[in-house]
């Protein structure tokens, strides 16, 4: 116990000393000169950089041709085409989301919209992990709209809700996956990051299938050298679709594995490199530094085209903090919302998108190998409202 007290005192003293030393200096400087800051998080606009081609094929387009690769190696799985995956998986979505969309629809269709109805609407949204701020905003907008419209037929309500939800999700954001060969014929590099247990390795494996299904060649980098058997897990995924996995020793330096993967990818002449990283809580400074290093080291050879943050749909308000920190360290370019097939609604991504301008690019809808779908706001909202 003595140690405890002593430790506390030392920490307190250190903090006090820090406050005494640094803060005044800071205050003094603040008005006169601006200190160099860490690079700001990417703005919404920067993500919309035009991609040469898109992996995401809108569901309306013609069905994708059979992937060619599998014929060469008959033992491999044939992943399903990505087009229309979301439509196919609509039933899964319904399981988790219908109560949200339908509930809102029912509430808004009531004859009299009194205070308690609005409260219920608010509760429905809060229950979807939307967060207090966005919820209040949406309710306010709906109120105004309803007042302006006056009469409400079921169709009008549906249209209203649809447009409001689309605005909330952000229809015009670029959600294409930049996992295509660069103009100079080098493979594109995708880094998959996130906290523990959100499904990074699974997502990486499924993403490989998505790319293979679209006729691309993929190389996997198992930079999760920390968790037991993570590399094996990734390799199992890779073997199923004939993607090679570059791995290092357990407990080795993840940056070196990532470097090696990108290097070998250039030699192997593949289209895309997917690097799976170890799960890390955003509060662990050391681990976040390590992640920053992985990205820096990879960038010595090739720019990182896509940094995907995997968020678990069950995550609550902490998801925003996670996204914020990861965005600061590795400049996240897209979000993969995993485990959306449960009862969780993943509303936190709305807040994330609003604050950081990072859009959801893929959603995971189940345990099946082909249950990762490109995210399409319109199809998603329709699925919500039709159930």
């Amino acid at each position: 116990m003595d140690v405890l007290i002593v430790t506390t005192v030392v920490v307190l003293l250190a903090c006090a000393a820090f406050v005494a030393l640094v803060v005044p200096a800071l205050k003094r400087q603040a008005p006169s000169k601006t200190r160099p800051k860490t690079p700001p998080a990417p703005e919404p606009g920067t993500i919309a950089a035009p991609a040469p081609a898109e992996v995401v094929v809108p569901p309306t387009e013609a069905p994708v041709e059979e992937p060619v690769e599998e014929r060469a190696a008959p033992a491999l799985d044939v992943p399903e085409p990505t087009a229309g995956r979301l439509t196919r998986l609509r039933s899964r979505l319904a399981r988790s989301q219908s109560s949200l969309g339908k509930g809102l629809l029912t509430l808004l269709s009531r004859d009299v919209l009194d205070e308690s109805t609005w409260e219920e609407i608010e509760e429905t949204l809060l229950g979807a992990d939307l967060g207090v701020g966005p919820t209040q905003e949406l309710v306010e907008r709906l109120r105004t709209q309803v007042r302006v419209q006056g009469s409400r037929t079921p169709d009008e309500v549906r249209a209203l809700l649809r447009s409001e939800l689309l605005t909330l999700i952000g229809e015009d954001t670029d959600r294409s996956l930049h996992a295509i060969r660069c103009p100079d014929e080098r493979p594109s590099v995708t880094l998959v990051v996130g906290v523990n247990g959100t499904g990074k390795t699974t997502t990486t494996g499924k993403l490989a299938r998505v790319l293979v299904a679209d006729g691309r060649t993929v190389l996997l980098g198992a930079a999760d050298t920390f968790r037991a058997a993570a590399a094996d897990q990734l390799q199992t995924w890779g073997d199923r679709v004939g993607a090679r996995t570059v791995r290092g020793p357990e407990g080795g330096d993840p940056a070196s594995v990532a470097f090696e993967a990108v290097k070998q990818a250039a030699g192997d002449d593949v289209d895309a490199v997917l690097i799976d990283t170890a799960g890390r809580l955003h509060t662990k400074t050391g681990l976040m530094d390590e992640l920053g290093k992985v990205k820096r080291v990879v960038e010595k050879q090739s720019p990182v085209h896509e940094v995907l943050l995997v968020l678990d749909a069950t995550t609550g308000q902490n998801g925003l903090t996670q996204a914020r920190v990861f965005a600061e360290v590795v400049a996240v370019t897209g979000i993969v919302l995993s485990k959306l097939d449960g009862t969780a609604k993943g509303g936190i991504v709305i807040a994330v998108q609003r604050e950081l301008g990072v859009p959801v690019k893929l959603i995971g809808l189940g345990e099946g190998a082909d249950d990762l779908a490109p995210f399409d706001p319109a199809a998603f909202v329709d699925a919500l409202l039709e159930g």
Binding site: V11, F18, E367
Partner: protein
Amino acid sequence: MFDTLSDRLAASFKNLRGKGRLSEADIDATAREIRVALLEADVALPVVKEFIEAVKARARGAEVSAALNPAQQVIKIVNDELVNILGGETRRLRYAKTAPTVIMLAGLQGAGKTTLAGKLAKWLAKAGHQPMLVAADLQRPNAVQQLQVVGERAGVVVYAPEPGSGVGDPIKVARDSIDEARRRQHDIVIVDTAGRLGVDAEMMKQAANIRDAVSPDEILFVVDAMIGQDAVTTAQAFMDGVGFDGVVLTKLDGDARGGAALSVAKVTGRQIMFASNGEKLEDFDAFHPDRMASRILGMGDMLTLIEQAEQHFEAEATAKMADKLLRGGKGNEFTLEDFKQQMMQVRKMGSFSKIIKMLPGMGEMKEQIDQIDDKELDRVVAIINGMTPAERDDPKIINGSRRARIAKGSGVEVGEINQLVDRFFEARKVMKQMAGGMGGMKGMQGNPLAGMGGMPGLGGGGKKSRGKAQQTRPAKGKGKRSSGNPAKRAQDEAAEAARADAADNAPINFELPAEFKGLLPPDGK
């Protein structure tokens, strides 16, 4: 924006200071704030509603407290209620009368079951048991390997007859494991099952079948502290599907408020038994309801701070430092070198602004804290690095030419070095005073530090908070002298919080050292 409940409440009560009893309107205003705070901590909505009703009822009948202002009074009620729901005392594991005791783990994917299995095994092994891990997660690719590696690290036997990754029957594995355990004389069997969703009827059936096959003495529901509103649905689904006897909260080392703990405890009525808070196999502990309560409310959490400090500070260096501070004297002064080392150690715990925010009472100066840039610290370190050892030991010898050299070496302007040195002396003076206070504290050390969970400002009341109050007082004195300065204002505010706290805790037989009494403002705010 206000971050914590205490800030919110303080804001809504600004005009009410000094009012003795809580009026109906006060309570309603408070209830709204509490609601938002709880929702932001991911407490499930139905639970929030119920909780607020309970708080309101208690607040109405609340006694006028001389020591607490209305905000504090409400917070105290909220905190008490929280601790109440989270479970007053922690339950221990039930062991079977005839070995082996079977513990089954269940939960969503990615909640951390496999890792937890290893931690639990290690913890039990340390307590003198012979646990055996059973790999009944045959779903996820390579989950079996993961458990084997975890088992190896924990130094316990893993029973894994099936390769997994979709091959094998988990029910059979679980059933066989019991015989295996008997045969090999293990007294505890920990069954790691696959992660499953509450809505997945088939998988829930499988979990129920595993349960029936092994008839576990304890079923533990493993839940991620970061989970949001879905916690209630999920917990209920598992309750109905397999049933569970206790809850384990994982990933508490993150900064999620962990409102899920409250939701699950309230909805299922099951106690949270363990908390897992780190990546290492040792990071596993019994659950502390009081700490969790403070965390959900977003109060500065001294205990977490201390724990983090313990993790990152080397005991030896700390002891040496404390010795220096306590003894003082010639040739044994706190030097810039010591200061630098201390800074580096604190830095290891994470960003400075976050640490300072963890200190109670700092919430009100959030903006200033947010301005703190850790880069500033690097500059200070750079300056110190630019000094010779002699200069670090005795900064008084730094004259003009030395100053110019240091400035050149560390890339700053000469003025900054002056300031650093000046502030260092000032800080050292304060530290000495505080160290004097520590001497006073020595007397307290004989007492057991039980009930330390008390949060300053909450009236949970404990020696720790008293100690803290005492330490912050000198800072107050300093603040009085010149308070145009934000840092000093910070200390001022901290001191204020501490003062309120001290009043609440009403030290019984504890005398402040004389030099502190002089620094204290006359009581009666």
